[in-house]
């Protein structure tokens, strides 16, 4: 088995910025009103068959014959009912930039590039929440967008910008990869000061690699896939692979407490960082050494991790690196039902033998994954597929509408991987699990990378979709999944959604004491006056249900402005007060005024 999916998938990268000196138009290669690269998208061709365009992903150009049926049956949608997006940004819908002239003057003197073009500003005015993308597609008028964008090139540039912002009372909003799904990048409409989007994309260098201690010192604007690619060149990796890693930045990971797919081997971002450098209105926060663990009072890194851009800008990070693993292998296991699958994952967690990644997809997601199978090229493959299906459903008696699949990714030296694989499959067997091959496993991971592209396809045909996540103790996983799905179905019905929504979940990370659960939720919005509002009410209800069932407010997406209202309930008002007092000390004038979190 070759390298992990991402490198296989994304042939080109977006590290074009180093060559560009005047402006930095990410929007030239990326969609302005949807996910990912402009040249990569799903569409239904003239025959009604689904295709994926562009050359970046391994399913590129392939025809997906079952997707249309799945799509129409699942959502009651039709490829004949299109809801196309506005083709181009309407500059008149963008409010004019209200500039702080004195700030602009001083900034010019520093030579740091900036822009107040409408396109640059709009591109950095949103993340990827459904309501944000929907508004872009509809060509809605923007209430508030950044008034200008600056591109610092290094830590010192950031120091200068923050100093000037303080001097002229300008609001700064740090911008990394723009993949936020918590409304964190939305400009507070009540903000009257000039808002400056601080785009970290030019700070994308690996400054040094320390092979003795296995750490690398990296500028925080680097994008996940570039970081891995550059480290790979020296034989290393960080192993931090959040699903957004094609586009999200190191600084963004720190600011949201990100979690990577392979955290079982490499840890989550808080386990990976050794040192963080942050520029705040009060100055620069740094530690004095790189000791691997310290007992020096509460760890100040933990004020920064998850601060969501409210305290300052992360400029440089020292993080752990590992030699590239010798061997990688995907795998999958089919279980008769979700209960059996969860019991197996729980046992794997108990024995602390989780592979680099282990995920359990429910039946809906299993079927979704199947709908993405490419056209089978030979009669033989077709025959083998049919035989497999027969074996599982008829011979083993699995109900195709109940069975679920766990996808696995093992990493390490070859022998260990094979040994590990056997251990995990043996555990799975005791829960009625059947090994279902490497292909199914890999397809499961592909799904995560293309899911956001699929949302754009859905939106072309009256289907809105979103995902959300939580973490929950083991004993509540099943109850939470069932209740949240039921709540969504119920709320949709009550709010006049005509066709039963798709609600699907997967247990996507395992821990000693619980798991991370990831939900997909989509519905056909034909006949609804305000689909986004309906969607938001349903998501709100789903979150209430999660909290009532012992789930957390967020496992790795963060709080942003979307989930602020539950912060007090989640961490107590005293807890909110503690965070507030840190904010008040570090940023008394609310220069970092994105109003996330608190």
């Amino acid at each position: 088995m070759g390298r992990s999916s991402v490198r296989v998938l994304a042939a080109a990268t977006i590290t074009m910025t180093l060559t560009s000196t005047v402006c930095f138009p990410r929007q030239e290669i990326m969609k302005w009103n949807g996910w990912g690269y402009s040249d990569s998208k799903f569409l239904f061709n003239k025959k009604g068959q689904a295709e994926f365009t562009g050359k970046r992903y391994s399913i590129l150009g392939m025809v997906l014959p079952s997707l249309q049926d799945w799509f129409e049956n699942t959502f009651g949608a039709s490829v004949n009912h299109k809801s196309p997006a506005t083709p181009a940004l309407n500059a008149s819908a963008v409010p004019p930039a209200s500039l702080n002239e004195a700030f602009v003057e001083d900034l010019k003197a520093t030579g740091i590039p900036f822009s107040h073009e409408a396109e640059d500003r709009v591109f950095r005015a949103h993340g990827h929440c459904l309501h944000e993308i929907f508004a872009l597609r509809e060509g809605k008028k923007f209430e508030r967008v950044p008034d200008m964008v600056v591109w610092p090139n290094c830590h010192n540039d950031v120091v200068k910008i923050v100093e000037l912002a303080c001097k002229h009372n300008v609001c700064l909003i740090p911008y990394g990869g723009g993949t936020s799904v918590t409304s964190a990048l939305e400009c507070p409409p009540e903000e009257t000061r000039c808002i400056v989007s601080l785009d970290t994309s030019q700070m994308n260098r690996i400054l040094w690699i320390d092979e003795k201690n296995l750490v690398a010192h990296v500028e925080a604007g680097i994008i996940g896939q570039d970081l891995e690619r550059l480290l790979n060149e020296s034989g290393y990796c960080t192993g931090h692979e959040p699903d957004s890693m094609e586009f999200s930045s190191l600084g963004g990971w720190v600011a949201t407490r990100a979690s990577g797919m392979k955290k079982n081997v490499y840890g989550n971002i808080e386990d990976l960082v050794i040192h963080i450098k942050v520029v705040t209105p009060r100055g620069v926060i740094e530690k004095s050494c790189q000791g691997p663990r310290m007992s020096t009072g509460p760890d100040i890194h933990h004020f920064i991790l998850g601060s969501e851009g409210t305290l300052g800008v992360v400029t440089e990070v020292t993080m752990k690196i590992r030699p590239i693993p010798e061997y990688q292998k995907y795998g999958s296991v089919v279980f008769p039902n979700f209960e059996a699958g969860v019991a197996c994952l729980r046992e794997v967690a108990k024995q602390r033998c989780a592979p680099a990644s282990i995920r359990l997809m429910d039946n809906e997601q299993f079927q979704f994954g199947h709908a993405l199978k490419p056209q089978v090229s030979s009669i033989f493959t077709n025959f083998v597929e049919g035989l497999k299906k027969f074996y599982i459903t008829k011979f083993k008696g699995f109900d195709p509408h109940q069975l679920v699949v766990a996808t696995l990714l093992f990493e390490g030296d070859r022998e260990r991987v094979l040994q590990h694989e056997k251990q995990v499959y043996d555990i799975a067997a005791t829960f009625g699990g059947l090994a279902a091959g490497e292909d199914n496993g890999q397809r499961g991971y592909i799904l995560t990378f293309v899911i956001a592209y699929l949302r754009d396809l859905g939106m072309d045909y009256y289907v809105v979709a979103e995902s959300f996540e939580t973490s929950v103790p083991w004993d509540r996983v099943l109850d939470l999944c069932r209740n949240v799905k039921e709540r969504i179905n119920r709320e949709c019905k009550e709010r006049g959604v005509q066709f039963q929504p798709l609600t699907s979940c997967r247990v996507t990370q395992t821990y000693d004491a619980g798991a991370c659960v990831y939900f997909y939720f989509a519905f056909n919005y034909r006949g609804l006056a305000d689909p986004v509002h309906t969607y938001e009410r349903v998501e709100h209800a789903a979150r209430e249900e999660i909290l009532a069932n012992g789930g957390s407010l967020s496992h790795h997406h963060g709080v942003g402005k979307l989930r602020k209202e539950w912060m007090k309930e989640s961490i107590s008002s005293l807890g909110v007060g503690m965070l507030q007092s840190v904010k008040d000390y570090v940023d008394p004038d609310n220069i970092f005024g994105n109003r996330n979190l608190l």
Binding site: R476, D479, N483, E486, R487, A548, N549, G550
Partner: protein
């Protein structure tokens, strides 16, 4: 259809806007088909009910295993083992024995036997057994969507057989029913009931942790998995007085908890109102209330009761109410996340917030049961007769019954008054059905008092009189929930020193508090009840409320005096108990001594004052207990003073 109740307002009464929420379903007589087709075929027909989310039914033994292997039970077994020093195996064995004693063994063959036998019995005993089919449809829907708890009213032993019979008839999942251990006294019958879905719980097991754990886990397992609807009686026991009893919370707590803990998405509570035109246990109840011990449940006793088969017990109405979603009820009242920080398998006393929610829910459900109780004309007649113990002219009774019908209808009573029948006919057929209680002689209607042969002591005469009064009262009691609030207001107006709204309210709230054991008054609803009472009395023109006053109107006299009369037996009864406590009761009186002592005090009072004191009902142990509870709750001297004024 013979049993469609009539809710059009009576003649001579203004037409009021009826609350659309109070729209009730019509009824179907399920005996009609039984009379026209084979019972055997019916008992043997295909029975394939739909279950909760299509679960496969669970065999009784499998269910026991799930319970015995549950984390919940293991936790308590280890705890008890540590406390007692006994090995866990032994405790586990004990748990298994408890479960064996408790568990149902539902068997379709037994159900079929009952279906056959009950068809025969019902056809002899009753004219109609009426069921609201829309309620059945709602129930069927509910059973598929969520775990369902059936909460019928409890007036007769017949109740739970009747419930299962109806569910079988409509091809619905048969419930498992919580029954008191006393049934187990009847060896054979007990086992039969067990095989028709009853599970048995001891009447009291206060501190027995293990018993509680087995019991609650057994019930929760059935509920969580949706194996069968769970049925129990919120009132805990059969109401001997036909008034709804203060709900018991134990089982309700158990069935609601899985929702709070997120183990189920929702629980649906379905109130069921079972109204009997004539209760089989009618005179037994009166005697029991008067201190004649309740006959122990025994098979031979049951066989003796065959005698009752020769009598006509009129009709039964069973109304399946709207399913109540616990989830919607708890919205904004209970924060489920308070359960997040404690392992769910460790038993824990419910939090205050939860307790008050469960208590409130229990009261609301009992009120829903009351609302859908079908009332017969006789109930109105009994209320009038009890205010005229010396008897009254048939024509007067007829006229007043018609008047009362109008009043009841305008207060949204669920009255089953035969369509198109002349009033005289309605009255005479009611009297005929209840000829054991009232008789007509020389154009006068009066209560029938049993006359034993031979010489009679004054006490015996009094006892016999009391039997007939209490029997009759059990019918009047059925309408009390309709009139209670306006009646308390009428008494309050009568008693208050002035017509100031404030003062009337104070009196009302005193009565409300005092009577809260005797009647179903939801905790905390006092202001709402007062407003409802004012609204109803104003609506029927008996009262007007200029500014801060509440005054009777010119036409209000009959209504208000009827209401005063309606509550008079209760007021007098409480006064007698109060007098006893002040004058006679010695220090250190135990509860056990209290009932006989207050009873003999009441006898002596009644012997002296026959004629002007009509409070035979104070001889009822039910009233004695309720009065004591009320007096214990408050401050005796103030209450005495207030009661004296009444």
């Amino acid at each position: 259809k013979a049993c469609t109740p009539n809710y059009s307002p009576g003649r001579g009464w203004p037409c009021f806007n009826t609350d659309p929420m109070l729209k009730r379903d019509g009824f179907e007589d399920i005996l009609e088909e039984r009379r026209n087709s084979s019972d055997l075929k019916y008992a043997l027909r295909c029975y394939a009910p739909v279950l909760y989310k299509g679960v496969t039914p669970c065999k009784a033994n499998m269910l026991k295993n799930i319970v015995l292997q549950s984390d919940q039970l293991h936790y308590v077994i280890n705890q008890v083992s540590q406390e007692s020093g006994e090995a866990p195996d032994i405790i586990q064995e004990e748990a298994s024995v408890i479960l064996e004693e408790m568990a149902h063994r539902l068997q379709i063959s037994t159900v079929r036997f009952f279906a056959f036998a009950l068809s025969k019995a019902f056809k002899t005993l009753f004219q109609h057994v009426c069921v609201n089919e829309e309620g059945i449809q709602r129930l069927q829907q509910a059973i598929q969507e969520h775990p369902v708890v059936l909460l019928p009213s409890h007036r007769s032993y017949m109740d739970f057989l009747l419930m299962s019979y109806i569910l079988y008839t409509y091809d619905l999942a048969l419930p498992v029913i919580a029954a008191g251990m006393d049934f187990m006294g009847m060896k054979f019958v007990g086992e039969m009931l067990r095989m028709s879905g009853a599970f048995f719980i001891r009447r009291s097991f206060g501190g027995d942790k293990l018993y509680w754990a087995v019991f609650s886990e057994y019930v929760k397992t059935m509920l969580r998995n949706g194996f069968a609807p769970i049925e129990f009686f919120l009132e805990g026991t059969r109401s001997r007085t036909c008034k709804s009893l203060t709900p018991k919370l134990g089982l309700l707590n158990i069935v609601i908890e899985p929702f709070f803990k997120g183990e189920v998405f929702d629980v649906n509570l379905v109130p069921v109102s079972i109204s009997y035109e004539r209760i089989l246990e009618e005179s037994l109840y009166a005697r029991e209330l008067l201190g004649v011990p309740k006959p122990k449940e025994s098979t031979s006793g049951l066989l003796k009761a065959r005698r009752i088969l020769s009598e006509d017990y009129g009709s039964i109405h069973v109304y399946f109410g709207q399913p109540v979603s616990v989830r919607s009820l708890a919205q904004g009242k209970v924060n489920r996340s308070t359960y997040n920080l404690f392992p769910r398998h460790i038993p824990r006393k419910p939090m205050e917030e939860t307790q008050s929610f469960v208590n409130d829910t229990a009261y609301r459900i009992v009120r829903l049961q009351e609302d859908n109780m079908v009332l017969k004309p006789w109930v109105l007649m009994a209320s009038l007769l009890l205010q005229n113990l010396e008897g009254l002219e048939l024509s007067v009774l007829t006229e007043q019954t018609v008047w009362l019908r109008g009043l009841a209808l305008s207060y949204a009573a669920f009255l089953d008054w035969p369509d198109h029948a002349p009033t005289a006919k309605v009255v005479s057929s009611s009297l005929a059905l209840h000829r054991g209680l009232a008789c007509v002689s020389g154009g006068r209607v009066s209560l029938v008092v049993g006359e034993p042969l031979g010489p009679v002591t004054p006490e015996e005469a009094l006892f016999n009189r009391a039997v007939s009064v209490l029997s009759c009262a059990s019918y009047r009691n059925q309408v009390l929930h309709v009139f209670l609030r306006p009646a308390m207001l009428a008494v309050a107006m009568h008693t208050a020193a002035s017509s100031k709204k404030n003062e009337v309210y104070n009196c009302f709230s005193f009565l409300w508090d005092m009577f809260s054991n005797d009647f179903i008054l939801c905790p905390g609803d006092i202001v709402q009840d007062f407003e409802e009472a004012c609204y109803l009395l104003v609506k029927t023109g008996a009262v007007q409320m200029p500014q801060q006053d509440i005054v009777m109107t010119d036409i209000g006299q009959p209504t208000l005096s009827f209401f005063n009369g309606l509550l008079e037996p209760f007021l007098q009864g409480y006064q007698v108990v109060c007098r006893y406590l002040c004058e006679e009761a010695s220090e250190g009186l135990t509860e056990k001594q209290y009932i006989p002592a207050v009873r003999s005090f009441a006898y002596s009072v009644l012997c002296v004052f026959t004629g002007n004191l009509r409070c035979y009902e104070v001889l009822s142990s039910d009233m004695q207990k309720n009065a004591l509870a009320a007096l214990l709750r408050g401050k005796l001297p103030t209450q005495k003073a207030l009661l004296a004024r009444l």
